[in-house]
Structure formats: C-alpha cells, structure tokens
Symmetry: C2
Subunit: 218 residues, 2 copies
C-alpha cells in the first residue's frame, strides 16, 4: 500500500483540489478511482460518516472533506505553503475559501440546475453578484494567493475550469470575460499553471459527462 | 479602542463560541452588543460580505465567520491550545466541527422550525441520527478535546446549552439523557466548566427570547 492514497473521482473538482495540493507539495500518491454507483468497501470504511470522495489516506489514517484535507496537507508537508504564515492572512484565506464553497458554489448550482425560467433568472443574478464580490477580492493580483497558488485558488478550481465546461455543455454564458474580466483572466492563469494543467481531466470528456448529468445527449 | 473587540449578540451561540475561546486563552476583550434590527456602521464595515456577527477585531483587523475566528485565535495566542498539535488530530477536530455546523445544526433547526407534522417527524429522526453519530465520536471521553475543551466542544456549544433552552421554550424533548446518555453527560460537564458558566447568557432570558422567536408568548 502506498504511503499516501487518494480515493477520488476523475470528474470531481473536490478530488481535484487534493491532487493540486499534493502536486504543489511534491507528494507522491496513489489515485484510486471510485465508482459512485458501487462504492468500494474501503471508501465506506474510511469515510463512514459521509461516504463521499475525496478521502486522503496517509500512513493508514483517513481524512475526509476537501477543505479539511487541504489544511491537513499544509500542516503535514512544508514545501509550497498553501496557507499564508500570517494569522490574519490565514483567516482571510479561510474566509474566502468558505465563501466560495458555501455561497458561490451553491448559487452556481442553483443557477445551472434550475428548471423554471423565473427562478433561473434570480439564481443567475445571485451567482453573478457573488462572483463579482469574489472578483473584487482578487483585485489585480495574479492569484488569490498573490504570486502563487494558495488555498483560495485551489478551492476556486471549479470556477477556474469546471464552470467553463458546464457552460459549454449547457450552452449558456454566465461567466464571461466581458462580465468578469479579472476573474476570467485569473481562470486563464490558473489553468495554464503546469501543475494545474497536468492534473485537470480532459475537457471534452468532462463536457460529455456534464451533458449526460444534466440530461442532455452527449 | 481596545486591542481586541468582539461584535456579537448576547443570545447568539456563534458569538458565544468566540467568547469561550478568548476566555480560555486569557485574552482581554471589549464586547460590543449589536442590534440586528439596526446594525452598526462598524459591523457593516467590518463584515461587509455577510453583515453578521460575530466579528473579531484585533489591532484594527476584522475577522468574520465563527470557525475562521476560532482558528485565528488559536493561531495568534498560544495558551490553552484549541486545536491539537498533531496534524491528523487537527484534521479530525476540523472534520467534527464542520459536521456539527453543517449537519447537526441544520437538522436541529429543521426539526424545531417545522410546521408540518410529517416533515417534523422526519427532521427529528434525522437530527437524532446525527446526534447519535456525534455521541459515538465522543465515546467515553470527558470532552471532545479529551481532558479539556477544544474546537469541537466550543462549536458544539449550541448542543451543550442552547438546545436545552429551545426545548424548554418549545416544550419538546428530543435531546434527553435517556436517548443520548454520553452526549447529555458531556453537556453537563460543558456548562459546569467555570469559563463556560461565566460566559453563558441567563437561561431564563434565553428561554423567553426563544419563545418570542418561535412566535410563542414569552
């Protein structure tokens, strides 16, 4: 058994977050692809509470929940800090990571998952407001982490890559360069980092997956 | 201006979490009671994103979101560690703190806020299952933090104290000694700690507040 194992899914941005962090730290790991329709006994054992990926197993000890895993990785391996050293900057990074997960992600899911026209418009408006708030936080920095990728960039991976694939799959345009010039530029910088690029799923495969998921022909 | 200020509400368990942490660390602070129907310009400035309490202001720098603030306090003041030193134990504490906030708290709010009998029963069943899961994690330890109060105990403050007040206000019994013997004993240990006891709101006042909040006469 490898010292570090990651139970994940190729198309999951939660899993991908952990892959980015491990690659940034230069940690070797074994990726174990799960089948959500037939979860492995090991996954159910390692994450008996939520029964979800990702789960990181380090020296036999399992850790679940993507942001908890990212903190664990940063606490354990010292190269390329994911969180800043300064306590106030650390708090700021945690605040925005939580904002992305609890606000932006939920709003975007509502905007894309909506069946009714009126509710879709409201959900889209809310998602745009939240993305604009996030863009204002980015300001003119290259990354949320400054000159290099940090916690907020990693957690924003679904905006940086998945959102474009979902938009192409559903043929909608919410996140555009015109509307969010700085955040859009950030997403280009993000996917062009060699470590990110190497670890992303194939875009065409992801688009087909999303089309099936949203009940469209692939 | 005091070096440490806490913008909070007397009846909010989110605010109370921060008070516990500051008291455990022995940090002097000024408590600034907010009026939610007329929020102060300072609160709106310090937490312009969520416009909510609690906000901790340290040397003029604001930090929002209760679990983010708890981590900040632990990163900044070294006495009485709130999180364990060991990375795996730290991850475990963060996992359960998140479980309490995202699962137990939401389920209990649904169980007590429900108007329909059938949905209430389902919400109550779910809340009980989650509390049982939490109890299983506690095992026979005095606190979730072992011999002393840690992150999970602090975040579980609404189970340790608020839940009893809500139950008395609404005249319901979900969290009982018979049903959750270990978690109930934990709640007694918790409220009997001198630091917790000193910082809790008056129980009668909280019960009256809850009765008004749930539309019952006080």
């Amino acid at each position: 058994m490898a010292e570090v194992q990651l139970f994940g899914l190729w198309g999951s941005f939660f899993s991908h977050r952990i892959e980015i962090a491990l690659k940034l730290k230069g940690v070797e790991y074994e990726f174990i692809e799960e089948d959500l329709s037939n979860k492995s006994p090991l996954l159910l054992q390692y994450n008996s509470i939520h029964k979800k990926v990702p789960v990181l197993v380090h020296k036999g000890n399992p850790i679940a929940e993507s942001r908890v895993i990212l903190e664990y990785i940063d606490d354990t391996w010292k190269g390329h800090p994911i969180l800043p050293e300064n306590p106030h900057e650390r708090a700021n990074a945690r605040f925005w990571a939580q904002f992305i997960d609890e606000k932006c992600r939920v709003a975007l899911r509502n905007a894309y998952g909506c069946q009714e026209k009126e509710r879709e418009e409201e959900a889209t408006r809310e998602a745009c407001e939240l993305l604009k708030t996030l863009e204002n936080e980015l300001k003119d920095r290259r990354f949320f982490g400054g000159d290099r990728i940090g916690l907020v960039d990693i957690v924003a991976n679904f905006i940086g890559f998945w959102l474009g694939a979902i938009q192409e799959a559903l043929e909608v345009k919410l996140f555009t360069e015109e509307r969010f010039p700085k955040l859009y530029r950030w997403s280009e910088e993000f996917v062009n980092c060699s470590i990110i690029r190497e670890s992303l799923p194939p875009r065409d495969k992801l688009i087909s997956f999303m089309r099936r998921r949203y009940g469209l022909s692939s």
